[in-house]
């Protein structure tokens, strides 16, 4: 039950082409809305979000003196700002509009047309009753701190950092490993151009190392982030390196003298590194760190061989983790990916047969700076005469990773080319479908076929050393079905390369939680909108670059990094940002000074005024979650735009008979 309040409400029902109108009877919804008190005008229109649709609202506000606007269309996540803008242009406070979601939450999810129409009418009724209670709200302009935090030092983070730094802003680039470079530093050639990965990456790495606008923090992780768009505060922990990089001259004598060897992470354990090490020759910074878990001195208190040889006396046994606190205007997340390493590899003999390699091992094996200096060789040093490459290991597989990783077909084809070029071996590729959507990618695929690689469409069921014939003896036998020829195949080869897809990096999840960004079911960070805001996140001022958002190749990663950089520059360069007026406030007349809200506020935005004995909300710090309003026993703390009476009337409207 409502009473006329004297408001003049306009209700607009959008067809969204046929997205809504093919299921929901939009004229019926408009007619039902017209029966509500205070509704002076109802219209249904093909595309409310279009310029004519918005003009309709503007004109009606002027002509019919509308003071409240309800738009039943898509999700407010999509177009709330659009219709608020239309109201603002007509001189109406933007918060006097309200959106009703009858597309994502009605026409697209409801089979029965009558029930969908009924649901839309109920939701519109709720909005009409709610919008009457809306109050004018005003955005606040706040200053934006200069500087940007870039998390992750792979090609995405490197490119973002360079673009931002070249744009004149200071960048704090945080990398968890002792060097930047990420996965790209470990590749030999890049598809489809076959240019040398290191040759195109290392100049960028050096530029990061020497750029006056970049502070590089390696061996470091972001531990805490607070604040909001334009004003983030991050705490970064740099692990103890036990080498003073300000003193060390990078001569490398310590690494020669160190007696302790452990498997090299950079080379996928194919070779050993020392306990004091530089991950790879072109590392930035090109100065060693001590691996505490491997170092003999840290294990049994003896050795110090590195300290004895070190000319500049750079070894620091008492080095401690350091905390750095930075204040920035925006954050770029570039935490990358991890190659899938799950059980699908073992199913195909990885770990059981030494000549079964995964893609990253092969990248190192094939790399000029790798364990064999680029010679493609088996573990006994022989050159393989035949190689099988297995696509989609763990990918496009409901048991493991259901998605396509977009790069594996292409890097597998690249492997085939490199193997044939270097060894002349026979190469078999086993694929489900070859996916080559990219500039010059299909042409590269054609080239590989012409080079004589055997391309077999079919998933590999088994890799075994159980020979059935003399030809198979001493070989690895790849058992597969050729689905084009419709026959079972047993292909004996010397070497098998498994091509797994890209999985999300576990560290991304921790970073996402710090920044309050969501992750999808596969662990990749979710963008604000899959089509129209692929760089932004649900947290304003936080942007995504590279594979942390989903598998992609190097050109796409670089493009996204540059986009994230320009978004950051746009924000930081402008120096000001508007913050929504949708915050909490505490009515000092009603506040009893109990201070319950003070401790509940996650942002420390509520303080206690000792003189007046009431709680006060700092509206710049408040983000409008409404926890204080929910807990306030006297109703003094209120969440603007989500006040009790606004929600109560919405509930009444939804359930009205």
């Amino acid at each position: 039950m409502t009473k006329p309040s004297g408001h003049r409400i306009g209700v607009y029902v959008c067809h969204c082409g046929v997205n809504i109108s093919s299921v929901v009877n939009v004229t019926e919804v408009a007619a039902q809305a017209a029966k509500e008190d205070d509704v002076v005008l109802t219209k249904d229109y093909k595309f409310m979000c279009s310029a004519p649709g918005q003009d309709l609202i503007r004109a009606d506000i002027a002509e019919h003196k509308l003071d409240r606007v309800v738009v039943a269309a898509c999700s407010p996540r999509m177009h709330d700002d659009t219709f608020r803008g239309a109201c603002a242009k007509a001189g109406l406070n933007p918060y006097f509009s309200h959106m009703v979601n009858i597309r994502e939450q009605d026409s697209w999810v409801t089979k029965d047309k009558a029930l969908a129409t009924q649901k839309a009418s109920a939701l519109v009724r709720a909005a009409v009753r709610r919008v009457r209670r809306h109050e004018p709200l005003y955005s606040k302009e706040v200053d934006v701190q200069p500087g940007v935090l870039v998390i992750g030092g792979g090609i995405a983070g490197i490119q973002a950092a360079l673009t931002i730094a070249d744009g004149g802003q200071h960048v704090w680039l945080v990398e968890k490993e002792p060097t930047i470079g990420g996965h790209m530093a470990r590749f030999d050639k890049t598809f489809p151009t076959l240019d040398c990965s290191a040759c195109i990456l290392t100049p960028k790495m050096n530029a990061v190392g020497s750029h006056p606008n970049i502070t590089l923090l390696t061996s470091s992780e972001v531990k805490d982030v607070s604040g909001y768009i334009g004003n983030f505060k991050a705490v970064i922990e740099t692990r103890a390196r036990y080498v003073d990089h300000d003193v060390c001259n990078g001569c490398g004598l310590c690494m020669e003298k160190c007696p302790k060897k452990v498997p090299s992470e950079f080379d996928e354990g194919l070779v050993q590194r020392k306990a004091i090490y530089i991950p790879f020759p072109q590392a930035v910074p090109n100065k060693p760190v001590i691996d505490r878990d491997a170092c003999t001195f840290f294990q049994n208190g003896k050795c110090k061989a590195c300290e004895k040889i070190c000319g500049p006396q750079a070894i620091r046994w008492d080095d401690k983790p350091r905390m750095t606190e930075v204040q920035v205007g925006s954050v770029v997340v570039a935490t990358g990916f991890e190659m899938y390493r799950g059980p699908a590899l073992a199913e195909l003999g990885y770990g059981k047969y030494p000549e079964v390699y995964h893609a990253l091992e092969f990248e190192r094996l094939n790399n000029a700076s790798g364990p064999t200096e680029g010679k493609i060789a088996m573990r006994d040093g022989r050159t393989p005469q035949s190689v099988a490459i297995v696509h989609c290991v763990g990918s496009r597989d409901k048991k493991y990773k259901p998605y396509c990783s977009r790069v594996c077909c292409m890097y597998s084809l690249k492997f085939a080319h490199l193997i044939k070029e270097k060894t002349g071996a026979e190469v078999w590729e086993f694929y489900i479908d070859v996916r080559s959507p990219g500039k010059a990618y299909e042409e590269f695929y054609d080239r590989i076929r012409e080079e004589g690689t055997h391309l077999i469409r079919g998933k590999v069921g088994q890799v075994t050393d159980a020979a059935l014939t003399d030809d198979e003896r001493g070989k690895l036998i790849v058992v597969a079905e050729d689905t084009l020829a419709q026959q079972r195949l047993r292909v004996p080869v010397d070497m098998v390369i498994l091509s797994p897809g890209l999985a999300s990096a576990p560290k991304s999840l921790a970073v996402a939680q710090l920044l309050k960004c969501s992750t999808d079911k596969d662990g990749f960070l979710i963008e604000k909108h899959p089509k129209l805001a692929p760089i932004e996140t649900a947290t304003d001022g936080v942007f995504l670059a590279g594979c942390c958002q989903g598998p992609k190749d190097i050109p796409d990663t670089v493009a996204q990094a540059q986009a994230a950089a320009s978004m950051s520059l746009q924000l930081v360069g402008k120096g000001k940002v508007l913050i929504e007026g949708r915050t909490a406030w505490a009515d000092s007349e009603l506040c009893s000074g109990c201070r319950i809200c003070n401790s509940l506020c996650p942002y420390g935005a509520i303080t206690f005024d000792e003189a007046k004995k009431v709680s006060v909300v700092n509206e710049v710090l408040c983000k409008g979650c409404g926890t204080c309003a929910a807990a306030c026993p006297s109703g003094a703390a209120q969440a603007r735009h989500f006040k009790d009476d606004q929600i109560f009337t919405e509930i009444e409207g939804v359930l009205a008979p």
Partner: protein
């Protein structure tokens, strides 16, 4: 036959986005579930849920971000505390505990939200109509009867 009437309070960042995803993926679910958007499940006051029952809801669903994922750090934990307390009190109002449910739905769980909406609708259908306003005014629970109207 009248249908179960359900109000679902969804936090903007995870659950409402998840419900939108169900739509984008065109996953069909029971139209009985009417969504009221709030910014955070921490905004949930016990009164909202009681108000919904009072106005005629047969079931009330509350959805927030998974623990650790709250956009506002810990609003969902605060929601959980209030929820558990209210659940204990529901009996005193003559409302079965099964009419109120709290679930964590992430922004990527469109299919899960749709399943949840269907499942909860069936759960309420099995409990029968609550009687809404009448039950509150008279103070007599009317749950457990059939859906005939």
């Amino acid at each position: 036959m009248s249908e179960p009437r359900i109000v679902a309070f969804l936090c903007h960042w995870c659950s409402y986005t998840g419900a939108d995803l169900a739509g984008t993926a065109r996953i069909k679910y029971a139209p009985n579930v009417h969504i009221v958007r709030i910014m955070c499940s921490g905004r949930i006051e016990p009164q909202f849920l009681l108000k919904a029952f009072r106005e005629g809801a047969d079931g009330v669903l509350v959805c927030g971000c998974h623990p650790g994922d709250c956009h506002y750090h810990e609003g969902n934990y605060k929601c959980l505390r209030r929820f558990l307390m209210l659940q204990q009190m529901l009996g005193a109002y003559g409302i079965e505990q099964g009419r109120l449910r709290l679930e964590w739905v992430s922004a990527s769980e469109g299919d899960r939200f749709a399943k949840l909406a269907d499942e909860f609708t069936e759960q309420i259908r099995a409990l029968g109509p609550l009687g809404g306003r009448a039950a509150f005014v008279e103070g007599t629970p009317q749950g457990g009867t059939s859906w005939a109207s």
